[in-house]
């Protein structure tokens, strides 16, 4: 029995993603309800990330807990400005995460460099070095916005097919 997932991905457009079977749904249900995110607060968005994990806008109700090590994380929330010095470490940490892994770019600086467009030392967007699944705009995004970003990641997870994920390695960045 096939279950189709529909995600509202833009202003008004409904996008049909994929057909998943019951087994995929079971696996994906388990995966999406236990997302361990890598604590990667680089700047001010890190404070909002902490607050989103805090009691008021609780990420723990999604069973999403922070892990300090990339070996135990499946989501990397890049929260803050990425400098060139940090970019190398970020790439290595992303590489050290085990599949299946996802990246959420939080805040303007992670999306596109933010307000530091004329800076010599800021990477203009974390997707210059790692592939990003969800972009959460804001400076900083409110905890509710980050929670919605996490729910979008959950939607992505629900729409994946197990066999395809197992066979296809994650590709590099653009």
């Amino acid at each position: 029995m096939a279950i189709t997932s529909i995600i509202q991905s833009g202003p008004g457009a409904g996008v049909l993603l994929t057909n998943t079977n019951r087994f995929d749904d079971l696996l994906n249900l388990a995966r999406k309800n236990s997302i361990h995110y890598l604590l990667f607060g680089l700047a001010c968005c890190g404070i909002e990330l902490m607050q989103t994990g805090g009691p008021r806008a609780d990420l723990d109700r999604f069973a999403a807990v922070f892990r300090a090590s990339p070996r135990q994380a499946d989501l990397m929330i890049v929260a803050g400005t990425l400098s060139y010095k940090m970019a190398e470490r970020t790439k290595l940490l992303y590489d050290q995460m085990a599949e299946p892994k996802y990246v959420l770019a939080m805040g303007s600086c992670a999306n596109c460099g933010g307000l530091f467009q004329s800076s010599y030392a800021v990477v203009k967007g974390v997707d210059k070095i790692i592939p990003v699944d969800v972009y959460v705009p804001g400076c900083p995004p409110r905890p509710e916005a980050l929670t919605e970003g996490l729910m979008r990641i959950q939607d992505i997870i629900m729409s994946e097919r197990w066999w395809r994920e197992k066979r296809r390695p994650q590709s590099g960045a653009k």
Partner: protein
């Protein structure tokens, strides 16, 4: 009584299977794409410098040895404690106490000897004979 042993056996088997099946299910269902960067040592994003294995300082061994000896001392004290009440009732409490104290004193003498010998020092000083050859001449 045989049935209770069977229960323990089943318990042990289920415990082992619990862990093994969980790991097996994970191994079957997870993707596996190792590459050089992924299996590199985790050092908070930095590339590790030097080797991970190095010579261990033997002072840990000495402290652990002293600990193990006294741990065995404690382990052998427990049976004495269990029968001590009965012995006291029979009037032999003094014998048990003397033997126990003697046992502990023998081990304590060994500890005091190790202490006086400097084996329990955490930061060890080099004696004059052991100092590296060139350093004294360079400082002169």
């Amino acid at each position: 009584m045989g049935f209770q042993f069977g229960a323990v056996l089943i318990f042990a088997v289920v415990a082992v299977l619990f862990a093994l099946v969980a790991l097996l299910v994970g191994a079957i269902f997870r993707p596996r794409f190792p590459n050089a960067d992924k299996v590199s040592i985790y050092e908070c994003g930095e590339r590790p410098v030097g080797a991970a294995w190095y010579n261990f300082n033997p002072r840990f061994y000495l402290i652990a040895l002293a600990f193990v000896i006294f741990e065995v001392d404690i382990a052998l004290t427990f049976p004495v404690v269990v029968v001590y009440a009965d012995w006291t009732k029979k009037g032999n409490g003094w014998i048990a106490l003397t033997e126990l104290v003697l046992f502990t004193i023998i081990l304590l003498i060994g500890l005091i000897w190790a202490w006086a010998h400097g084996d329990l020092e955490w930061v060890k000083k080099l004696s004059a004979a052991d100092k590296p050859a060139g350093s004294e001449a360079n400082r002169g």
